[in-house]
Symmetry: C3
Subunit: 129 residues, 3 copies
């Protein structure tokens, strides 16, 4: 059920963005209890004046490759699941697109399952799964 | 109190977007307990590489007309209100702009009333209504 | 821990946007219990057809300078803190960039501290602060 918004500075190739998107999704499938076909993402590319981030707050140093991944989730996860996801995500992103783990920030926002409709005007949970 | 963000692929006419926006708002007024003048919306148009969506997860098949409606609400609604809203929304969108109901996805995120200020630095709920 | 998204119509200078961004952040530092270096913001510039807002709902009249500030916070704040923030924010924005207080809308969305990772795959709260 997640809806994922990925924010970064402009200038990356379409191939980079595709690899980024796929890697984020696969980390969620493998460690965040997300079904493989439950993929809904947007990518937001900013000019330097439109994306402000501190280079050192609680981590860093952050570079111009800084990537903020904002996840709207449909159910809560445990701290151990969150830890595994955060760690897997940065490891995979470093391998796949060369992102420094310190350049990856994640924010999760949790909603209720009934706050989702995937189509047809059906409330999530009402349909046969 | 909702703030509504509508995401879809680029290529639609200004008239289509206006009809889409108006229809979403009217469905909220009629079935989601939203005052008629409480309209705050943004429309986000993406290239194909910036908007990823599964064509079949819990619905579909989804087409390139896929439209994701993300609502930040200021109070919770009951399941029956949500159901009525989801159903009315897709019916109206099909009538108004020809959207297939399977192309309409909704995500609601609920906040507290005091987390809103509509202007003048006044906390929502403090002002005389 | 906030992530702040600022939405407004296109047409402002880079200098205006920078002042807007800095002023919003400073108001959060001074009245919303945010550390000075905890600055993560995006600015979203819309065409008139992409940003819909009512000119009079619970405030106004709103002008084309309307600015919507959506804050994802990492902990709840008291009503008195919210009030002080809303009021300080609009006063400062009027002084810094000439924004009419009625043109400033705020929406806050509260998450849990463990729903944040600032880098390195570390869950927020796990690292030594």
């Amino acid at each position: 059920m997640p809806f994922v918004r990925i924010s970064l500075l402009q200038g990356r190739s379409p191939q980079y963005l595709q690899n980024l998107s796929t890697t984020v999704h696969q980390a969620m499938v493998d460690t965040f209890d997300v079904p493989p076909s439950d993929r809904f993402q947007t990518i937001h590319q900013y000019t330097p004046g439109e994306l402000m981030f501190d280079r050192h707050y609680l981590g860093g140093p952050r570079s111009d490759a800084f990537t903020l991944i904002a996840i709207t989730a449909g159910k809560p996860r445990s701290d151990s699941t969150r830890r595994a996801f955060y760690q897997t995500l940065v490891t995979r992103l470093q391998q796949a697109v060369g992102l420094d783990p310190e350049d990856v920030m994640v924010v999760i926002n949790t909603t209720a399952a009934q706050e989702w409709s995937f189509g047809g005007g059906r409330m999530n949970g009402d349909q046969a799964l």
